[in-house]
Symmetry: C5
Subunit: 253 residues, 5 copies
Amino acid sequence: MDIASLIGLIGAVGMVVGSMIAAGGLGPFIDVPAILIVFGGTFFAVMYKCTMPIFLRSFGAMAKVFMPKAANKEDLIAKMVELSDVARKNGLMALEGQDVPDAFFSKGLQMLVDGADEAKLVKQLNEEIKAMKTRHDEIHEVIRGWIDIAPAMGMIGTLIGLVQMLGNMSDPKAIGPAMAVALLTTLYGAFLANVLFGPILAKLEGYSASEAVYREMVISGLRNIARGESGRNVQEQMVAVMPPKLQTKLMAA
Amino acid sequence: MDIASLIGLIGAVGMVVGSMIAAGGLGPFIDVPAILIVFGGTFFAVMYKCTMPIFLRSFGAMAKVFMPKAANKEDLIAKMVELSDVARKNGLMALEGQDVPDAFFSKGLQMLVDGADEAKLVKQLNEEIKAMKTRHDEIHEVIRGWIDIAPAMGMIGTLIGLVQMLGNMSDPKAIGPAMAVALLTTLYGAFLANVLFGPILAKLEGYSASEAVYREMVISGLRNIARGESGRNVQEQMVAVMPPKLQTKLMAA
Amino acid sequence: MDIASLIGLIGAVGMVVGSMIAAGGLGPFIDVPAILIVFGGTFFAVMYKCTMPIFLRSFGAMAKVFMPKAANKEDLIAKMVELSDVARKNGLMALEGQDVPDAFFSKGLQMLVDGADEAKLVKQLNEEIKAMKTRHDEIHEVIRGWIDIAPAMGMIGTLIGLVQMLGNMSDPKAIGPAMAVALLTTLYGAFLANVLFGPILAKLEGYSASEAVYREMVISGLRNIARGESGRNVQEQMVAVMPPKLQTKLMAA
Amino acid sequence: MDIASLIGLIGAVGMVVGSMIAAGGLGPFIDVPAILIVFGGTFFAVMYKCTMPIFLRSFGAMAKVFMPKAANKEDLIAKMVELSDVARKNGLMALEGQDVPDAFFSKGLQMLVDGADEAKLVKQLNEEIKAMKTRHDEIHEVIRGWIDIAPAMGMIGTLIGLVQMLGNMSDPKAIGPAMAVALLTTLYGAFLANVLFGPILAKLEGYSASEAVYREMVISGLRNIARGESGRNVQEQMVAVMPPKLQTKLMAA
Amino acid sequence: MDIASLIGLIGAVGMVVGSMIAAGGLGPFIDVPAILIVFGGTFFAVMYKCTMPIFLRSFGAMAKVFMPKAANKEDLIAKMVELSDVARKNGLMALEGQDVPDAFFSKGLQMLVDGADEAKLVKQLNEEIKAMKTRHDEIHEVIRGWIDIAPAMGMIGTLIGLVQMLGNMSDPKAIGPAMAVALLTTLYGAFLANVLFGPILAKLEGYSASEAVYREMVISGLRNIARGESGRNVQEQMVAVMPPKLQTKLMAA
């Protein structure tokens, strides 16, 4: 459970909704046709923008904002140091069946056991990282669709409302409320883009970058094991990507 | 038939048109001079922006949004594994006349049969990919023209309408409708840019990237065949770009 | 004569002017002070932005939009194949004085005749391409100046008009026309940036990219001649950058 | 204490507040619900955007704008020259325990003493710089969140205010003040983004770039010491990144 | 004296001021509080954004827009050809004390005389170019601060004016002039960003790029002298970055 996502989302939505209530109740801020054009129109335009499988997969990816896969870099280093000692004592074969925290690590380890040389190991695992980034980018592109198209749909809705209002100005009293409704779509568009989907994109991009760093650490560790480096050396090279304070702590351990 | 494009386009246009009808009928939203300046003006300005052959070719390319060329990566891997076994048994010559799913694959295979070495094969096929990307970019640039110029034409149309309206304010009753008409061009511009052409560009760029990945897989497979690798090795390297679940499935097969 | 530029420019301007005429005549859309501040102000600000020689050269470059230098890639391949056969039969010396379609090709050929080796040939010709791109970019930067500054000048003009109008609201009848005039500069700015100069920049950038591809083909051909490749091989490598259909046609010939 | 940050921040805020006071007192510019939606809403949306540890760390990083770590490049060169002379006279072992101005330098020196060769030294220290940049970028991304989301929250607040106002236009006298309050959120958003957080981001990015240059100088110096270069040579290579005037002064010394 | 800067600046400012005078005199366009918030506020916010030494240095750099250092590439080639002949006749030692047009050239020459080999020469001079670009970028970043912050300050000023005006609408006659004053800050911001500082940034970036090309030519010449190339060869390689017409002229000489 990512606590920042939860508090942040509830807090941001709460601030907006609270400010609507303070302004006199939620009533004037809810309009079904406005919701349809902004939310529905953006939904379909984003679907149009991408292929169906990726569109469907994007909803699951967005849920990960609240439940990120935990990939602990300190545990990874400890495990890698342990494995390097095993390999030095009993050979690479002894790595077979070792318990590792994720599938990427496991795949790399299996390659070592199968006798892949360092160059092949690095090349293939790097291709996996590149392919992972491509897959993530496809999902991010869907979310970017929500962020780009929602405000445009909001503007289109407001223009439709204005055109209709300007064509019917016989009753001056109706102008104000009609314009209020017209502005709602712009409000919805800004809300979707900036409060809901904008932070999700940033968060997923952050997770993706962090995952890539984690995997690069796995590669760095495995290639050092392939070279027969000592556990100390493996640790020394892997901690280089950690913050200075953590480095000191880890190396002291 | 790409189902996301079809549903998405119909849904997005439907939401906008439905919201116009709900606002009192399509009548007030249709204005021929406004259509002429936004659609016609953008049409010509985009033509001015690019060369005639590319401009004409762009319409065909946009139609591909609904009927993409299917390039199945799993079939490609299966075929490549089959060919690598043929080549190991009967030599590269035996690859002559094999049935392959696309022209790029076929060309690469012919080069192998003709005795091209690995370096030449990779260099020339990579140049083909680069040239393909350049050709696609030229088309995308045309669509980007629609996306950039349509809102500008909409704004120009609205300014023309406002200038004319402001010069004739003797009849207060005419102001509202005149302004409504002036806003229509902005509405059309936003619609063209965000609902029609924006998603098309994203979709074509996605297809182009996917095609490039497919072709890189072809190169990866052919160079392994040239090296005389076993089918298992060929498969192992090609699946690296697939999602983890699919990898497991493919390797188990 | 580039037909897309001509039809496109006339069509786009025609749509805008036609829409002004349909709105009641060109009269209200012409205002000399507004023309002065947008066109004149942008003219001088762009001059301020770049150096005098480049500013002056940019006007000639813009004229090329209508009269591009024709560089035919198919003729280039045919010529290169012919020269490679000459070189294989009679040696590189025999290339002296051969008639080639452009100065860049001619310079490269002369280097071959003068005995430059492949590495030197490629290095020096690549530097020429890089220098050409730099020179073109300088011109494009001037045009980008028109595109960036014209709308800003339009906005400045509108603000000046509004400030003056708001300070003199004693006569309500004068407000409409005064605001109409104030909006004209924004209209001019949008027209200059999006209808006139925007497409020119895109077109020149396209020409520049195409010229660079052409020159890279020249280098590719010449280095193959330097290596003593056969005409067939020269052709095979040069067609790699052409569309698939054209490749088939050219290789069949 | 960074004097430019202090004078700049006080001056910029002073100009804005002074202009409010000159416009008739701060009273009309303060509105608690407006502050809540812009400041509070942005606070939570930024938290939602990033992970909790980075969000919390960002506040400390922002304080560094006023209290930057001083990293003096001239002192670094002097120290490095001194150490290179020590190393030439007494060997790399003599570098043990030397007093150096920062932890990065100290770590590199320790690697030299421990017998790391030049390649390993450069590789590992470069990874540290890359990891530092990644860590800094994470913080900058938080600040960019403030800059991007604050104006959006301001716009959302203004739209909420406008919708509420337009629905209650029975009292014409209330329209002006209601609209004034609605505009306040836009004002707050622009203030947060451009006066408070915008310059902070630029400043931290500048510090980060400067720190990277400093660390590259450390690497350059240490690798020259590893090669056994003379102090004069070390100095000559390190001053290359300084301004010409300073170079002359330093080399004359 | 750069004539384009002078004419351009005077012309652009003249057009804007002339259009104010034509609109009824400069009087309504001058407002001291508005000047304070836009000019003063931007001044301090830019100072806050960067460090004090760079902020102070930026003013001197901006003055260079009118008085650029003349770096004549043709003279450079002539000088380099002369020096290469000297070096071939009398050895590299004879280059000592030769009169060269700038400090960068002089430094490189001194390195040759001191016996630096080609690799060291190129590496160190390239680091100088990189450091020069970094120093220039720091200055450009200050000017970009003016361009980004001035319109934001203009908008803040306008919002302050509007809020104050909307709170005091008892006298309808005061609304127009109050709004006119509110718009002035937006006008000032647009003027500062687009007419004053925008072109300066483009010009300085152009100078910086041109200086970098000049220095690369110096390196290219010196490395050829180090190799003992003939004057003719030195000239041939250096002219590759000049326009075709100039190349012909220079090579004919």
